[in-house]
């Protein structure tokens, strides 16, 4: 049986604000989907720390855990372990400071993404320790995951036939946790406890995607512990993440515009918008059922191509520039009845998730669902994804029963901590306008928009150098964002194999091309 939260993920209709691993990453390293062993025997010890290794990195790190109450109002009640990893600086410049990198989701494990953080923050790591904490409810820190056992039938399911309420209830019954304690504010107390435990006076923060909410809360509640803050793919406090539907629609429009402005893409796919609408309309009427080789096992398997799978796969492909470049080809093929590229993209997005859906629900239901105003609800309902999300969360949040956060939770963050905000113009989750919104009351902040980046600017541009500069100088005054505008755009896939202009079969062509090259 499939679990509700699980099917929700399958259907790709949660507001997921994570950084999508690139396609190449999938081949260079296995995706960290295997749940890490939970160390039950460590429960008695308050703190432990030892040398360890994390997935994808050969270097020795320091791992440890601290014990915190699940419910801070009952300090003697149930204790949970918050696991952290310290990636040591190569040549420490200041042992009193470190950079804390906060993952997205909500529900991603920071430790499982250590390799990505390490590569992106390599310059920072030359002189600063980097801390990764598995936020409560994710990764090794009492993960709230609802694992379904119907993984192989994911391609066959028709998402519209699911009873989210029943499945969510089943998931809730299986979890051994007070799910109402897994919101951002409690997690923030854990973060500060880890900082104090490790003995750092000041932290530099890097938050990506949902991690920017955690970083902003840190700015609100413990400004004295912070040296600098970087928000990458900003979710402003004033914004409910459920409003993401409009951002997705915007990113689709930008993609179609990009293709029509690109000579090669426009020539190959002149009717992209019509193709997209055509497939969408067909699938809205009825899903297409066919027999395909399973993307992983190669065995013949039933594929129910629903509108939800089609749009969900395309949406997730928008997260990374690499998969984004395949979208026009995928749409065009689908319009011609070939759903192979869509199936491939769908399989990618399925396995790249690694999101703890229980924790995801605790955050979204407590902090985003209940503050939707009727107007915003109306507006969100306009878009396909907004509509689907509202429908699903209406059912799952009724089961999850999270108390709403105070209204003041949504106030703009004020302060003068040096803050760097990064937005990607092509971002399908957190558009640049959200970054502007977060700037409202920040007096010492700079917001840069990378014109060719999607979600997670620092991973795709020189944004990581800006972070290294910020950490080194401790000020946003000198940051020069000119390099963000460098044209790093890559070509779109013109068929299933190439991104370069396809030479015509004309016999004279090779000579012509050599002549051109001389």
């Amino acid at each position: 049986m499939l679990h509700g939260m699980y099917s929700q993920l399958r259907a790709q209709i949660s507001p997921v604000l994570w950084r999508h691993k690139s396609a190449s990453a999938a081949i260079l390293m296995a995706v960290g989907m295997i749940p890490l062993a939970v160390h039950a025997e460590e429960n008695n010890a308050a703190t432990t720390q030892q040398a360890c290794y994390v997935d994808g990195l050969s270097e020795q790190m320091q791992c440890g855990a601290i014990s915190v109450p699940e419910n801070y109002a009952k300090p003697d009640g149930k204790q949970i372990q918050i696991h952290y990893v310290v990636m040591p600086a190569t040549k420490p410049s200041n042992r009193q400071e470190a950079l804390l990198a906060i993952a997205g989701g909500p529900g991603q494990s920071a430790i499982e993404n250590a390799q990505g953080f390490d590569r992106m923050l390599s310059k920072v790591r030359q002189t600063e320790d980097v801390i990764l904490i598995d936020q409560r409810g994710t990764g090794q820190s009492n993960q709230l995951q609802c694992i379904g056992d119907a993984f192989d039938s994911a391609l066959a399911i028709d998402e519209s036939l699911f009873d989210t309420r029943v499945e969510t209830q089943k998931c809730l019954d299986e979890l051994d946790a007070d799910v109402t304690q897994y919101g951002s504010l409690n997690a923030l107390k854990d973060f500060e406890a880890v900082r104090a435990h490790l003995g750092y006076q000041k932290l530099h923060l890097y938050g990506v995607s949902y991690g920017t909410r955690m970083a902003q809360l840190y700015m609100r509640h413990y400004p004295e512990s912070l040296a600098t803050v970087t928000l990458d793919g900003v979710v402003p406090m004033q914004q409910s993440v459920l409003a993401i539907g409009n951002a997705i629609a915007r990113a689709f429009d930008l993609l179609i515009e990009d293709c029509s402005n690109n000579q090669l893409c426009n020539k190959q796919f002149p009717d992209l918008k019509a193709d997209l609408d055509k497939v969408d309309a067909e699938l809205t009427q009825a899903p297409k059922i066919s027999l395909v080789p399973d993307p992983l096992t190669g065995e013949a398997t039933k594929l129910t191509m629903t509108r939800s799978k089609f749009k969900g796969a395309l949406r997730m492909a928008l997260y990374s520039p690499a998969t984004r470049s395949l979208i026009p080809h995928a749409i065009h093929q689908a319009a011609n009845g070939n759903f192979q590229p869509i199936t491939g993209l769908y399989a990618m997005s399925m396995d790249n998730a690694g999101i703890a859906m229980g924790m995801h629900a605790s955050v979204v239901c407590g902090e985003d669902w209940q503050r939707l105003t009727p107007e915003l609800r109306e507006q969100t309902n306009q878009s396909y994804f907004g509509h689907e999300m509202l429908k699903t969360f209406a059912e799952s949040c009724a089961v999850w029963n999270m108390p709403a956060v105070d209204a003041s939770f949504g106030d703009a963050i004020a302060g003068d901590i040096p803050t760097l905000l990064l937005s990607g113009e092509l971002d399908p989750a957190t558009p640049p306008s959200w970054g502007e919104l977060a700037m409202e009351k920040l007096t010492n902040a700079k917001h840069f928009v990378a014109p060719y980046a999607t979600h997670g600017v620092a991973y795709q541009s020189c944004g990581n150098d800006l972070i290294a500069d910020l950490v080194e100088t401790g000020s946003v005054a000198e940051l020069d964002a000119a390099c963000l505008s460098e044209d790093i755009r890559r070509n779109f896939y013109l068929n299933a194999s190439t991104v370069e202009a396809i030479p015509s079969d004309d016999a004279s062509k090779p000579d012509e091309q050599t002549a051109l090259n001389q």
């Binding site: 260079l28 290794y53 420490p92 992983l296 192979q340 491939g344 890559r490």
Partner: protein
């Protein structure tokens, strides 16, 4: 220690300090070597690391605009071949690149470079890595476009757990540094050793000293102690200057850090003391054997080759097992283990230090005997 010996040590040290030139000559090494080493590493790091913007020659760039753009995003761009900062690496994109790519075949590029050129190696590797990354990314997307999960292309996932610590990665460099530090023990006391033996004899003050009511043993011990003190002062200076100077080198660009920390300094001083005593005995013995000051200088230079070679053998790990028990090489190896954060091999230190002290005692006895011979005292 008797008062006589202490006053003789004072006499030796005052004598030595009067000859400012030879004091300075000994200390030049202690001060200069760490600085020179740092200067060398500064240059080396600059030479070995690939520049942020790597300019190479790209032929037929128009044949693969997307690849060229990808390389540019990795900081690798086409530079004019006569430009000074263009590396001697050539990348040729084949004429059929686009045609093969479109058919789903392998598109060819050719990399031409001299792999034996150390200055290019990092840049070549960086280019290869970037090309592989591009190829891997395209390969994955080609599979996705065919409805296949790219993970099937990676049947084996290799998890490497590197047991090296940041300190042990620096082992090679610290091994070299340790060698120069051990050597400081020999060099710093050398001038004094010659001056107080062969020099004293040439100035005819040795015979005078022997005519005083002191035993030859007391004379020998006083001279050894004075030379040892000089050697140790040299070692302390080398360590202190290394501690400061090494922290300025941008080691992080090589991916590790070299730090001369307090525990290393303490360890070095403890291990260095027996070596310093032996060095003093050896140098004094050789100088007494020599007929003149000049001769002593040349003998000592030759004799110093032995510890030098032992130290080298230890730091490069090129010699047979037996050297781990020998003086100097044994202590060196133990120190390198200590630097790498491994367990300190106490037996090794104990045996090699005992060996060192035995040699020192033997030499001291020899010296004591020889000071009773007229041949030695008058340099006949």
């Amino acid at each position: 220690m008797s008062n006589k010996i202490i006053s003789m040590i004072r006499k030796e040290l005052i004598d030595a300090a009067r000859d400012k030139r030879s004091v300075m000559a000994g200390l030049y090494y202690a001060v200069g070597t760490p600085l020179l080493m740092c200067g060398m590493f500064f240059l080396l790091i600059g030479q070995l690391t690939s520049p942020e913007d790597l300019n190479i020659k790209i032929d037929n760039a128009k044949g693969a605009p997307d690849l060229v753009k990808f390389l540019a995003s990795r900081g690798i761009t086409h530079g004019e071949s006569d430009a000074k900062d263009t590396k001697d690496i050539q990348l040729i994109i084949s004429d059929e690149y686009a045609a093969n790519m479109a058919k789903g075949l392998s598109a060819e590029v050719t990399l031409i470079a001299d792999a034996s050129n150390e200055k290019l190696q990092n840049s070549i590797r960086r280019l290869e890595r970037s090309l592989q990354e591009y190829s891997g990314e395209m390969g994955s997307l080609r599979l996705i476009a065919r409805g296949i999960d790219p993970r099937v292309m990676q049947p084996i996932k290799v998890n490497v757990k590197d047991e090296a610590t940041p300190d042990s990665k620096a082992g090679m460099i610290l091994g070299l540094a340790t060698m120069t530090m051990i050597y400081a023990v020999f060099i710093s006391g050398m001038n004094l050793a010659i001056d107080t033996s062969a020099g004293e004899r040439e100035r005819n003050s040795l015979a005078l000293l022997l005519s005083h009511p002191v035993s030859t043993w007391e004379i020998v011990i006083a001279k050894i102690t004075a030379v040892t003190i000089f050697a140790m002062v040299g070692l302390v200076l080398t360590l202190l200057i290394s501690k400061v100077a090494y922290s300025f080198v941008p080691w992080q660009e090589l991916g590790f850090a070299v730090s001369v920390n307090t525990s290393f300094i303490v360890m070095m001083l403890l291990v260095g003391l027996p070596v310093a005593i032996m060095a003093a005995c050896l140098q004094l013995f050789v100088s007494f054997m020599a007929k003149s000051f000049k001769e002593a200088q040349s003998y000592i230079t030759i004799v110093l080759m032995v510890p030098m070679m032992l130290a080298m053998a230890a730091s490069y790990n090129i010699a047979p097992e037996a050297i781990q028990w020998l003086p100097i090489s044994g202590q060196m190896q133990a120190l390198i283990e200590f630097i790498k954060g491994r367990e300190l091999p106490l037996t090794q230190i104990a045996v090699s230090s005992a060996f060192t002290l035995t040699i020192a005692t033997g030499l001291a006895i020899g010296m004591q005997k020889s000071l009773k011979s007229e041949k030695i005292v008058f340099g006949l």
